[in-house]
């Protein structure tokens, strides 16, 4: 069984520069595991920690977006063509919101608060955080709010982590 897979420029470091590689598998998940056995690390760029397809990677089977074919469960046959393209996206959108879109809670606040910050909610985020942290966040205080939240969450919030979205996509 042979499936031709076209690799985008940014992932060719995993294939020794090759633009297309061959693989086998009955489903997309199986194909990616097969590719990873010969091109170690490739699968990690396409699948998130939670085991789903990365939100900003497009995979097409015979020119159809796999999101409409069952994503990782999409069925594959001998002779199929698979194309991988990193989504072209961006914008002025803020850091935390971008992390939320990436489908993972990269901010220490979301881990500490146990809130699902993957979808921005219309409810005042302050109200939700107030409840979770036990702090009165309705009025800004002169005390560094970060210090207060650090104490409540037990995390060091003094320095924002820049690494998160890049790490997610690296």
């Amino acid at each position: 069984m042979a499936i031709e897979v076209r690799i985008p420029t940014i992932l060719r470091t995993y294939t020794g520069g090759a633009k297309t590689v061959e693989g086998a598998g009955d489903t997309l998940a199986a194909l990616l595991a097969d590719l990873d056995s010969r091109h170690s690390g490739l699968r990690g760029r396409l699948i998130t920690e939670q085991g789903g397809l990365h939100r900003f990677v497009n995979i097409y089977v015979n020119d159809e977006d796999v999101r409409f074919l069952g994503s990782l469960d999409a069925k594959l046959s001998d002779g199929d063509n698979v194309t991988i393209l990193p989504a072209v996206a961006g914008g002025a959108f803020g850091f935390a919101a971008a992390a939320a879109l990436l489908g993972r809670s990269t901010s220490p606040l979301s881990r500490a608060s146990g809130l699902d910050l993957r979808r921005p909610t219309d409810q005042a985020p302050q109200a939700a955080l107030s409840r979770a942290s036990g702090l009165d966040l309705r009025r800004p205080t002169d005390q560094a709010p970060q210090a207060a939240l650090s104490r409540a969450s037990g995390l060091d919030l003094r320095r924002p982590t820049d690494q998160a979205p890049q790490a997610a996509l690296r």
């Binding site: 940014i10 072209v88 959108f93 850091f95 979205p165």
Partner: protein, 163 residues
Amino acid sequence: MLSIDRSIIDAIIAHARRDHPDEACGVVAGPVGSDTPVRHIPMDNAARSMTFYEFDSMEQLRVWREMDDRDEEPVVIYHSHTATEAYPSRTDISFAGEPGAHYLLVSTREPDGEEIRSYRIVDGVVTEEPVQIVEPNVDPHAVQSYKFGQSPTTVDYECSPGR
């Protein structure tokens, strides 16, 4: 440095103004390895947002295939910021997936003019580069004007009679 025709820049600005206040986005394709933007391809912003853009996945496949068929590559990937400066945001940097492209940013936050700046974004590192807009009617190597009878090889100082 990004060298780009005036007509293409004008088309990009017009696209950004048309979509304002939503972010506009698109590609300018050019022959592989030429680093010359030739064919302007405005793309649909599937996110239709004032602060986020994303190419529609099927349109992106169609355009990328077409470029491949024509031996082209995306030389410029552009988008607009409608309320902030023409500088790549963290989101822009994280999502930059074409290391060979020039990332062109247009800011339409002012109604009477646009900021146009260009960057290379490779492995999370942003490097700004100058934008050279090539005017169609002018030979960039020609000397535009002479003063006081100067030419490339001689200089004449103005002399009054009697001196």
